[in-house]
Amino acid sequence: MDNPILTQALIVLLLPLAAFVIQIFVGKRLPRQGDWLPTSAIFIGLILAITLFGRMLANYDPAFKISHRFDWINIGSLQISFGILIDNLTVIMLVVVTLVSALVHLFSIGYMHGDVRYSRYFAYLAIFSFSMLGLVLVDNFFGIYIFWELVGLSSYLLIGHWYEKKSASDAAIKAFITTRIGDIGMLIGIMIILATLGTFGFDEVFAGVADGKLSGGLLTFAGIMIFFGAIGKSAQFPLHVWLPDAMEGPTPVSALIHAATMVAAGVYLVGRTFVFYSADALLFIGVIGTITAFIAATIAITQMDIKKVLAYSTISQLGYMVAALGVGGYMAGLFHLMTHAFFKALLFLGSGSVIHAMHHAYHELHDHHSDPQDMRNMGGLRTKMPITFATMLAATCAISGVPFFAGFFSKDAILAAALEKALTSHNPIHMVIFGTLLLCAGITAFYMFRLVYLTFFGEPAKKEVHHHAQESPTVMTVPLIVLGVLAVAGGYGHWFEDLVTKPDLAAYATTALVSPAVPEAGHEAAHTAHTMAMWLSIFAAGLGILISTAFYYWKKFSAEAMAERFKPVYNFLWNKWYFDELYAKTVLAGTHLFSRISGWFDLKVIDGLVNGVAKITVLGSRLSGWNDNKIVDGLVNLTANVVGWFGATLREVQTGRVQNYILMALGAVVLLYVLQLAFA
C-alpha cells in the first residue's frame, strides 16, 4: 500500500465509516448532536477526491488504472481476494458521490433541524456514504455484492427514518424486499461466475470470458442475472415500484440515495462489468431500459405530488442510462449518470426547499392537514423563493436537454449512440429503442416544465400560504447554487469522452485473440448519427417545452379538459399503469393459494356432502338422520383435525428452544452429507 493514490482513496472510503461509528455511539452527546462530524468527514473526502480528480485531468491518461488486493478467504481451491481498483471512472464516481453527499449533508443541517432522531440521521448518512464509496472502489463481484447490500440497508434505514408513520415504514420494507428480489438474481449470476471461472475479480472474470471459458447461452444468462441486481437497485421495469414509495423518506435522502447515487449503482454496475455482457444480454438490457424510460415518463405526466413527479422522472432517466449501455453507448450512459446526479440531486433538494417553505407556511397558519408536497397548492413561488426558483429552472433545462446545459450533452450522446446502433445493426428493435428514447426526451421536457410552471408560475393557489412562504436558510441554498452551477456547466469539455473509454473485451484475453477485433463503424457514420441525433433531440425537447408552456403558462388549453377527454388514458397513467395493483393481485394469489384451495374444498366437497346428506336426511327416518349427523360431524371434524394437525406440526418446528434449533441444524448437516455421498 505504498501508492499515495491508493492511500488517499482508502482515506476517502474510511472517513465516513469512522464518522458513522462515532456518531452512532456517542453522536447524541456531542455538541450540536454531532452533525458536524459526518459532514466534515465527507467534506475532507470531497477535497481528497477532487485532488485525485485534478491529478486525473493533469495526467489525462485514458488507460490509467491501479489496484491493490490481498487474500481474504483462502479455502482450498476457493480463493477470495479483496482489493480496490482505481481508474478514471472510479475517480469520477468518487467525486460525484462525495460531492452530492457533502452537499446533502450540508442541506440536511437546515432541513432536518429539530428532528427527533437528528444525530441518528447523520449516522445513517455516513454509513451510506461509506457503502456507496466502497461499491465504487471495490475490484470484484463478491465485494460489490457486499457493498450492494450495505447501500440497500442504509437506504432501508433512511426511508424508514420517520418510522412512526405507517406509510414510511411500509415503504422502507417494500424497498428492501423489492430490491432483494433483484439481488437474488445477482447472486445467482455471481455463483455462475464462481462455478465456471473460479474467481470473483473483475479482471480475472473478464479474462476468462475473453478466453472463452464462459460463453454462449450461459454467458448471456449470467449477464442477465447480474443485470437483475441493477433492475432492483436502479428501479428498472418490472421492479421499479419501490422507488416512488421511497419518497416517504426525508427529501435530502431522496436526493442523495434515490436520485443521485444509490439508484445509479445499477448503471455503474453494468458499466463496470460492461465487457461481460454478450450481445443478447445487451439487447435485453437495452429493451428493459427503454421500457422503463417510457413507462415512467408517461406516469410522470399526470402526478401531482412534486416528489412523485421527480421520482418517476428519476426512474425514466435511469432507464435512459440503462438503455444507453444496452445499445453500446458506454460513455454516453455513464456521462448521463454523472450529469443526472448533479441535476437530479438539485431538483430534489430544490423540491425539498419548496416543501420546507410550504411546511413552514402551513405551520404558521396552523394547518396540519394540507399536503405540502401537492403542486396544486403551490404556484407563484417564483417571487418568494428566487434562489430556489433559479436553480431549479437550470436543473429543469438540464434534464429537458435544452442546449448548452449539462443534460443536453449527455442526452444527446445517448440518442446518438442509439441512432448509430440502429443504423449499423439493421435490427428493427434498435430502431424502436431510438424512437422511444426520442419520444421520452420530449415527454421529459413536457412534464418537467409542467412542474416548474405549476410550482413557481401562475397565481398562487392559496394566497395566505403564499404570503407566509419564504426562502430557505443559507445552509440550504448554498448546495442548490453549487449544484446549479454544475447543472449548467457540468457537460463542457471533451474530458469525459476522452478519459472514460469503452473497454474492449479482447484486451483482457490472456491467450491469442479469440475474437478478431470488430472494426468500429466508420467515424463518418458516427458523425452523421451525432449531428442528426442532436437536431432531433433539440426538436423533441423544444416541442415538449412548447406544449407544456401552451398548457400551463399561456393556458391555451386546459389540462383538466384534456384529462376529461382522454379519461381512460389519464386514469391508466394516474394509477401508474396499475403496477401496484397487479403485484398485489399476483402476490395475493401466491400467498393465499393454499387457503383458496382449502376454501374451495370446504365449499364444494364438504358443503356438497352436507347438502347431499341433508337431502337423504329429509327423505330418511329419524334413525338414519341420527346416523347422518354422526357422519357429517365426523367429516367436518376430520377436516378440521387434518388442518389443525398440519398447523400444529409445522408450529412445532418453531419451538423457541435453542437446543431444538441446534439439533435440526446438525441433522441437516448429516442429511446433506449423506445426500452428497449418494449423488456425487
Binding site: 408450529r651 418446528v653 418453531q654 419451538t655 423457541g656 428452544r657 435453542v658 437446543q659 441446534i662 439439533l663 446438525l666
Partner: protein, 103 residues
C-alpha cells in the same frame, strides 16, 4: 495396530466433540450445557495442536490454541452471567422453559 500418529489424536478429538454436542443438545440445565460447550472447545483445540505438531513446522497452531483458551474463558464468564440473568427473570435455569421465541 499402527503406531500412534495424527489420526489417533484427531479421532480422540472427534469423539470428544460429539460427546460435547450430545451434552449441548440434550441437557436441560443451562450450566451443564455450558460444560458441553467447553468440551467442544477442548476437542477443537486438540485438533489445532495435533495439526501444529504433525503438519505445521511453526507454532501457529499452538498460538491459535492459546487464543482459543482465552476466548473460551471470556465466553464462559459472559455465558454464566447470562444464565444468572435468565434465572432472575424466569426463576429457573432450565433451557426448555426459555422458549419465549416459540411460534
Amino acid at each position: 495396530m499402527m503406531p500412534v500418529g495424527l489420526t489417533h489424536f484427531l479421532v480422540l478429538g472427534a469423539i470428544l466433540f460429539c460427546l460435547g454436542l450430545l451434552a449441548v443438545i440434550t441437557k436441560r440445565n443451562a450450566v451443564t450445557v455450558l460444560m458441553g460447550v467447553e468440551l467442544i472447545i477442548n476437542a477443537a483445540n486438540i485438533n489445532f495442536i495435533a495439526f501444529a505438531r504433525y503438519l505445521d513446522k511453526d507454532l501457529d497452531g499452538q498460538m491459535f490454541g492459546v487464543f482459543v483458551i482465552v476466548i473460551a474463558a471470556a465466553s464462559a464468564a459472559v455465558a454464566l452471567a447470562i444464565v444468572l440473568n435468565i434465572y432472575q427473570r424466569m426463576r429457573s435455569v432450565n433451557l426448555d422453559e426459555a422458549d419465549s421465541l416459540a411460534g
